[in-house]
């Protein structure tokens, strides 16, 4: 290597090392908007545009009462950021919530459907606001910039090595091998960079769990909420009808971008070793809040076509005996759509049980009639179809049911 080349390389490496910006450690001041000429200002502007698009999405749940309720819980947890954060409930059947650095938050209906009490919602919101308060997005971006610069530094070294070896190799084949080696080094380094990005966000996740829980506890919510929540999510993962989901607890499942690791559960168990006694009144009060959306959200969940998980979820929702008509009807639907051996009988039993409850949707009798008909019980089918027509005289499919009745 010539002295000139060595000097160029040394200068480049020095330049790259000088790139690292300090990572913020202090909490964000409420109401502060970053200056436009900073990296943070740029990220905010990009997020403002993403928020405009999200606001126009068909997934936005526009029930003012539900949105006000979620915002109210948030403001109990983080009164200082109450004016900074805008929350959108999105009707998406996955367990997820997301916090953008500019103060726009999404809470997905799959999360609201699975929460058993306000405490769990508070835990999730506390987790998300911690990402905001601790500037996690900016940290991630700056860490990524530093890693990219470090990666370029190693590329400089690899390019030097490769080019030097190529010159000394003498033969074309030798040169090729040397260059391949240098490229191999680059790839390993590249993969290492990607992996450390995930590592970093996992650290942020555990910090968000810890500080989010502290916020929830200060606002009067139960300390062990996270423990129960993570265990319930693990149980639902195990209930999947797909082998791959059951065996991939961490990623590529309905729990989205939040890795559900045993490590996070362990942290929650360490932080809250004492179990708080369960209060059924809390669960009833929370159910009353989400009841107007219960049927729609369950229907969305079934569209994922993981009936193992949907049935598990329905059992969890039915644990306190409330909403037995709605939950029973959808249990029947899950069996009817799954169509495994014995599912017709199971569906028929579920519809039958649901029909005894005043909150059963009117379709229960139509589906019950159909299940009876398939099972060969004509008299019972006639009874159920007749009840359906009595209860829904204006039904769009009245003609279809009448035609079926005429053939029975």
């Amino acid at each position: 290597m010539t002295p000139a080349r060595r000097l160029v390389a040394a200068l480049l490496v020095a330049l790259l090392a000088g790139q690292s910006a300090p990572v913020l450690a202090q909490q964000r001041a409420p109401g502060a908007r970053p200056a436009d000429n900073t990296d943070e200002g740029g990220i905010w502007a990009a997020m403002d545009k993403a928020e405009i698009d999200a606001r126009a999405s068909a997934d936005v749940n526009r029930d003012p009462q539900l949105n006000a309720y979620v915002k109210g819980v948030f403001c109990k947890l983080a009164p200082e950021y109450c004016g900074d954060v805008r929350i959108y409930v999105m009707d998406r059947p996955y367990y997820n919530a997301a916090m953008a650095p500019n103060g726009y938050m999404e809470v997905w209906s799959g999360t609201l459907l699975r929460a058993r009490s306000e405490d769990e919602l508070a835990f999730v919101l506390g987790h998300e606001v911690t990402h905001y308060a601790e500037n996690h997005s900016l940290q991630t971006w700056r860490a990524m910039k530093n890693r990219a610069a470090a990666f370029l530094g190693v590329q400089v070294g690899a390019a030097l090595l490769g080019a030097a070896a190529a010159r000394s190799a003498g033969t074309a084949e030798g040169a090729r091998a040397a260059l391949d080696t240098a490229e191999g080094v680059s790839n390993v380094i590249y993969l290492g960079t990607i992996a450390s990005l995930f590592r970093f966000s996992r650290d942020n996740e555990t910090e968000a769990d810890r500080l989010g829980m502290q916020r929830a506890v200060s606002a009067g919510y139960a300390a062990d909420t996270g423990v129960g929540m993570f265990k319930a999510l693990q149980a639902e993962t195990k209930a999947s009808q797909f082998f791959r989901v059951r065996n991939s607890e961490r990623r590529l499942n309905i729990f989205g971008s939040h890795p559900l690791t045993a490590e996070r559960l362990k942290q929650m168990e360490t932080l809250a070793p004492m179990a708080t006694p369960d209060d059924p009144a809390d669960r009833r009060a929370y159910r009353a809040r989400i009841r107007p959306h219960l049927a729609a959200w369950i229907r969305d969940d079934m569209r994922r076509k993981d009936f193992g998980q949907s049935l598990h979820l329905l059992d969890q929702l039915a644990a306190d005996g409330e909403d037995a008509g709605i939950l029973g009807f959808y249990k029947g639907e899950a069996y009817r759509l799954r169509r495994e051996t014995g599912d017709l009988e199971r569906a028929r039993a579920a519809y039958q049980a649901a029909s005894a409850h005043p909150d059963a949707p009117v379709q229960t009798w139509r589906e019950l009639g159909e299940a009876h008909r398939k099972a060969g019980d004509k008299a019972a089918a006639r009874g159920a179809f007749t009840t359906y027509l009595e209860r829904a005289p204006q039904a769009e499919d009245r003609w279809l049911v009448e035609a079926t009745l005429a053939k029975l």
Binding site: R5, V8, A9, L11, L12, L15, L16, Q19, A35, D36, N37, D39, G41, G42, I43, W44, A45, A46, K49, I52, D53, R55, A56, W141, M144, K145, A148, A149, F151, L152, Q155, V156, A159, L160, A163
Partner: protein
């Protein structure tokens, strides 16, 4: 060393802003004199290319470029024989109008990808028949306009470190690193039929920096030179 010098030359050489415009097939009518034009404020996003090659959005550059392009477009339209009025998209994100603005963004991006890009769609080969559909009439009714003119600006500028790194890597024989660049496109939509009657893409010369008023003016001059307005 010759290669390195050549690269340095390329880096600082001046070139003209290049444009590439397309007209709708089968002679869509040009706007008649006195046609009412709805000028949708430009949508601009600029970023800085960090030394290692990450695009970092810069809100201040985007804002000043947006204001500069907007002023230059207004001046350009004032010279022509059409009436025009302006629409700030930030005031019209809801409802039908908001959906139409987003639809145009999607169609504009598709035009860039399929009529200008590397991807060759069999149904669009040598054809330029893009349309937003007759639903755009809502936009015409709302703002009393016959045509809508949209402008988009996107681009990145190399940081000082990026340029140094590029020269350094070139000296080491490690090849060329992208240095960023800016482009803008404008499209004219017939608000009765929804057809994109004219579309133009401009890639910036170093002298056409849309972050200052003169550069934005140069950009708009290039884009609007042969516009059917």
């Amino acid at each position: 060393m010759f290669r390195a010098l050549a690269l340095c030359f390329c880096l600082f050489a001046a070139a003209c802003t290049t444009t590439d415009q397309k007209f709708a097939d089968r002679g869509a009518p040009r706007p008649a004199p006195g046609a009412r034009i709805l000028l949708v404020e430009p949508d601009v996003q600029l970023s800085v290319l960090t030394m290692a090659g990450l695009d970092e959005p810069r809100a201040d550059w985007s804002k000043s470029a947006q204001a500069n392009l907007d002023a230059a477009m207004q001046a350009a339209l004032r010279q022509r024989s059409h009436q025009f009025r302006e629409l700030d998209p930030a005031t019209a994100q809801e409802g039908r109008i908001g959906q139409l603005l987003r639809l145009h963004e999607a169609v504009g991006r598709s035009i860039l990808a399929f009529s200008y890009g590397q991807i060759d769609l069999p149904t669009k080969r040598r054809r330029f028949d893009w349309t937003l559909g007759e639903g755009v009439q809502a936009l015409g009714r709302q703002y009393d306009a016959d045509y809508a003119l949209f402008t988009y600006g996107r681009g990145s500028y190399s940081s000082g470190g990026r340029k140094v790194a590029m020269v350094g890597m070139a000296l080491l024989g490690a090849g060329i690193m992208p240095l960023g660049g800016q482009e803008a496109f404008a499209s004219l939509v017939d608000l009765r039929t929804g057809r994109v009657v004219w579309f133009n893409v401009a890639k910036a010369a170093p002298t056409a920096d849309m972050r200052d008023p003169e550069g934005a003016q140069a950009f708009v001059d290039a884009i609007m030179k042969d516009a059917p307005l």
